[in-house]
Point group: C2
Chain length 249, copies 2
C-alpha cells in the first residue's frame, strides 16, 4: 500500500486536508447485508417453522438488486425505490423457494430485513471516531426509510441521510453526486466517497470527489469474485473503518 501522503499528492492540487465530509456507500461498505439478511430470514423461518437455505435466499435476493435498478435507470419503468424493488424480488423468491402461506404483514416484515442490517465489527467504532472530525452522510441507492431504519438498528451515527430517493435517480446518475455535494455546500474535492466497490469510486472520482476504498472481500461470501482489492490509486485504501479513522483523523 502506498502512503496516504503520496496518494494525496497524486490526487492533484487539493490534498486530503481539504476534505470536510465523508459520504458512504452503505450496502457492503458499512453494513454486512449478507450475514444480516440471512440471519434475519433464518430467525423468521425458525419462528414460523419454515426451512430453507437462507444464505442462498439472501444471495438470490441481492442478485436482483442491479437488474431491478437497471430497469429504472433505463427508463423501462418510472421511479421505484429499493423497497419496491426488494419487495418485487421477494415475491418471486418466495415462490421459487416454495415458501407459502405468508400474509401481507409477514411479507412486509421480511422485506424490511434490509432495514435491519448490522454494521461490520469495525463500522460503529470507526464512524464514531470519523464523526469527530468530518460530516458523515450516507450516499446510497438504499431508500431513506431503509437507511434511517438501519441507522437506528445498527447505531450508525450519520449527520444526514441522503440517497437515491432524494433525487429519484440511482447511482451513478450525475444528479446524486452533484446533488449531495451541493446540499453539503462543498466543493467536490472537499467530499470523500467511501466505498468497498471500485466502480463506485470511479464514478465519484469522475465528479472530482476524493476516494477511499474499504476492502470488504467477503461482502458476497467466501467465493466473492470482484472487488477483492483496490483497482486504482484511490486516495486512501484501507481494510476497515477504524483504519480509515487512523488514516484521516
Amino acid at each position: 500500500m502506498d502512503s496516504n501522503h503520496g496518494q494525496a499528492k497524486d490526487a492533484g492540487k487539493h490534498g486530503l486536508g481539504d476534505v470536510k465530509a465523508l459520504v458512504f456507500d452503505v450496502f457492503g461498505t458499512v453494513v454486512d447485508w449478507r450475514s444480516s439478511v440471512s440471519a434475519d430470514l433464518a430467525a423468521f423461518g425458525q419462528r414460523k417453522g419454515i426451512e430453507a437455505d437462507w444464505v442462498a435466499f439472501a444471495d438470490a435476493w441481492r442478485a436482483g438488486y442491479v437488474p431491478g435498478m437497471d430497469r429504472v435507470r433505463e427508463g423501462a419503468r418510472p421511479w421505484a425505490n429499493i423497497d419496491v424493488l426488494h419487495r418485487e424480488r421477494l415475491d418471486v423468491l418466495l415462490d421459487e423457494f416454495g415458501i407459502e402461506g405468508l400474509d401481507e404483514a409477514e411479507k412486509d416484515y421480511l422485506n424490511r430485513a434490509w432495514h435491519r442490517l448490522s454494521g461490520w465489527p469495525d463500522t460503529v467504532p470507526g464512524l464514531t471516531r470519523l464523526k469527530q472530525r468530518y460530516i458523515l452522510s450516507t450516499f446510497s441507492n438504499g431508500s431513506v426509510p431503509c437507511l434511517i431504519g438501519m441507522a437506528r438498528h445498527a447505531g450508525l451515527p450519520w449527520d444526514a441521510i441522503y440517497s437515491a430517493d432524494v433525487v429519484r435517480h440511482f447511482k451513478p446518475d450525475p444528479r446524486i453526486y452533484r446533488g449531495v455535494i451541493g446540499f453539503l455546500g462543498l466543493h467536490p474535492h472537499e467530499v470523500m466517497l467511501v466505498a468497498a466497490h471500485n466502480g463506485d469510486l470511479r464514478h465519484g472520482r469522475s465528479h472530482g470527489m476524493r476516494t477511499a476504498y474499504v476492502n470488504r472481500p467477503t461482502e458476497y461470501g467466501p467465493k466473492q469474485s470482484k472487488d477483492r482489492a483496490a483497482e486504482s490509486d484511490w486516495d486512501v485504501v484501507v481494510s476497515s473503518m477504524t483504519e480509515l479513522a487512523d488514516r484521516l483523523c
Copy 2:
C-alpha cells in the same frame, strides 16, 4: 387546552396514532436564534473590542430573512440558500452599525453564528424522548450546512436533515412538503409538522400533515407581536418539546 384525543378525532379519519415521523420547523421552534446569535456576536465583539447593541443587530439580521427569501421565491433571483442570504444581510448591517475592519474569515465566522444556535432548554430532553418513538427530521428553510452544524453544536438528535436546500425551494413551495413526505416513504397523515408558527402549520395542514403548535412567545423577544398563541385547532398545542413528548409518547 382541549384533550389530544378530541383534537385527533376532529382531524379526520386518521388519528395521531398513525403518525410515524415528526418534522420540525427549526428557527424559533427548536432553537432560540435571538439569544444565540446575539450572545455569539457579543462574544465576538468582546474579543475584538467592538461595542454594539448586539440584540438589535440580531433582530435586524433576522428581519432580512423573509424579504431575502421572498426575492428567491418570486424568481427575482436564482436559487440562493440561507447562508448566502444571511451573508448579504450581514454585509449591509456591518455597514449600518458602523463596524469596520473585519476580514473575510471573520465575516464568514460571524455568518456561521446561524450554525451555532442553541436549543431552547426543553429541546434536547424533548427530542431525545420523541426519538424513541418517532423518526425526527428537520423541515426548515435553513441550509443543510447550517442545520448539520447546529445539530452538532446543540446536540439535536435528528435522524435526517431535510430542508429547502434539498429541493432548492423555500417553504411554502409545495415541493418541500411533497418531497420530504415522499423521502420518508409515508402518507401525509403519518407525518406531523411541529412549528411555533401558525403559518407553517396552515401550510402543513393544507398538504394533509398532522400539526403540532409549540408556543414560543419570546422567539422575537419580550415584545413579540405574532405567534403568541395557537390560532387554529392544531392537532396538538404545547408549550415545550417535553410537553410534546408527554402528549405523544
